[in-house]
Amino acid sequence: MRPQLRFLDNDLIEKIVGEARVILKELGVTLHNDRVLSMLSDHGARIDKGTKQVYFTDSVIDSALSTVPNSFKLYDVLGNETHDFCSGKVHFTPGSAAINVLDFESGKARPPVTNDYVSYVKLVNQLEHIASQSTALIPSDVHQGMSDSYRLYLSLLLGEKPTVTGAFTIAGFDVMRDLQLAVRGDVDELRERPLTVFSCCPTAPLKWSDVTSQNAIDCAELSIPVELISMPLSGFVAPVTLVGTLIQHTAETLSGVVILQLANPGTPVLYGGSPAIFDVRYETTPMGAVETMMVDCAYAEIGRYLGMPTQAYIGLSDAKQLDAQAGLESSMGATLAALTGINNVSGPGMLDFESCTSLEKLVVDNEICGMTLRMLEGIHPKEDFPSISRFQELLSEKHLLISEHTRRYLREEHYFPGKAIDRAQRSRWLEEGGLTLGERANQEVRRLVKAYEPSRLQDSAKEELQNRMESEARRLGMDRLPETRIE
């Protein structure tokens, strides 16, 4: 049996969805994009052009729910399948778009530069339990106008795993589309084998900005998968109760599903989000709060009920360092997410309310993910019935270390974490330097960055990527891109 967690029963889900529909029909959403407004209007939604308000109908919602796929796949830069977003499959991806990187040497958070991003990609490429890259850092040494596309460029050039990303402007999307085409060759191939997931964020409460709406329909046109990231903040720009927050999240996310499905029926969607409770003592949005995690898991149950694969920003921490709080919040989140069956879990590596990425934390979180995925496999008999002969063997041999059964199942049954996790005797630990978690993780970061092997993407595609990025840089007035050391 696969372990599974539930916070909501179907009655409560029905009630929440019913309420969200009422909100969408009676209050509607504000949508600052005329193209999307007229598209919605063409499909029977009532539009108020003056206030940019859209009032949805049951039929437009039902029709979107009938075309949205209940699963889809992702492929790496080489075209190999890496993700199957379908019922119960859990994949981890680094938390996205940090403002700072936590510099291990100085212990300080600082704006990232190209080399931080390069190390990050090299690392993620080799972390076994992190299934995709995300454009996790925003290098500060390129023109701001290309800060969204430049991250994707580095990821596609240096890494092989598919990438979870997002555009910051309408024009940013075009460059990011071209970069994907440089890898895939043409639009049909990109449609056939999606390489990225784009985040599109409605604005709480119940609003869609021009940029986000346009990004959404631009993705839909090319069947690029979209994760809808609604961010109600409980008690501030959303009701304080978890159910109230879920109603708002459902309304905002359903409005996104409608936009995407009208733009191109069948567009792959992850029913996602980044809600948080609002901490009324510090004026912050704690991602490590247990209630934040409960809302994440609960909306994922709703998403699944509505027939979509799911995503959440969970398994990250508000701590400022790689400390015990970081471990506690990240592992609690990752565990709850996995037990809920959230398909794309965005979190590893992140600290400080989504503001800071630590490469060392990424290494530790990779272990959290590994353990979590092992847990998900559950407990299954493997030649355990009848068991009498095994115990006869144990009693006669005094141990089972070299038993056939042990050798067959050892690696399946036991997960072996990497060097970051300490399982040594105290004396050995001391002999090996008595290293802290951070120090062990840092050693792993260095080892892996060094062990990186260049992406197997064909050279012609790499050149094409470079050409496209360089021409964008020139357009923005940079003569050349920062040096990237690939070997």
Binding site: I99, P111, Q144, T169, R281, Y282, E283
Partner: protein, 212 residues
């Protein structure tokens, strides 16, 4: 208990219904507008500020108090004008160009109003020129800017540069805030102050206006 301490007590209690009549009472007693403002209304809010920092009360309590204070201000305003008591100060506030994050900025606005400042809120996606021109038109000495994105933070530097270029740096003070900001970042871009949250934004702006 004197009327002024009764006013601050009701502000602390967040009772917007009794503060206006108490303010009216203080006015009828002939107390100077300045004292009603400082000892009654602002007196209550300073206690609230301290309790909030100590986690004795939470943000909703602060906002309740701010609302009560606002209700008292509405009554007191005509008298403040008549007695020529200068307002605490006007603040032009907005989220910078290209940035749509306004939740934090809105909280700053609420807290500033609660503390008795006049706030001209330009919303989000505000151009450098708009910040400065609005401040000049309204004779506001403070420009307060919010940015949540690495990519939009540099717009704040454009504003401080423009202020210097136009020789307005004596007249206009800048304060910045938002997730990518810090004291260092604020200093580097030539802003006069930084605050990490809305409660401390109030303190920093007070310091700016008192020349601190």
């Amino acid at each position: 208990m004197g009327t002024l301490s009764e006013i601050s007590k009701q502000i602390i209690a967040g009772d917007a219904s009794s503060v206006p009549s108490l303010t009216q009472k203080a006015i009828s007693e002939g107390l100077p507008a300045r004292d009603i403002l400082q000892e009654g209304l602002i007196g209550g809010m300073s206690v609230i500020g301290a309790k909030f920092k100590a986690h004795e009360i939470f943000l909703p309590d602060v906002l309740m108090a701010a609302r009560a204070m606002q209700a008292g201000m509405d009554k007191l305003k005509p008298l403040l004008i008549k007695e020529d008591v200068p307002s605490l100060g006007k603040v032009v506030l907005g989220t910078v160009r290209g940035d749509l994050h306004d939740i934090g900025k809105n909280l700053v606005s609420i807290m500033l109003k609660g503390a008795g400042f006049e706030v001209i809120d330009l919303g989000n996606d505000v151009s450098p020129e708009n910040f400065i021109d609005t401040a000049l038109e309204n004779d506001a000495p403070v420009v307060a800017m919010s940015a949540l994105l690495t990519t939009t933070m540099p717009v704040m530097g454009e504003v401080t540069d423009l202020i210097r270029q136009r020789g307005l740096d004596k007249k206009l003070k800048t304060i910045v805030g938002g997730a990518p900001l810090s004291n260092d970042a604020a200093r580097d871009m030539g802003a006069n102050a930084y605050a990490y949250d809305a409660a401390s934004a109030v303190d920093r702006i007070r310091e700016l206006l008192s020349g601190g």
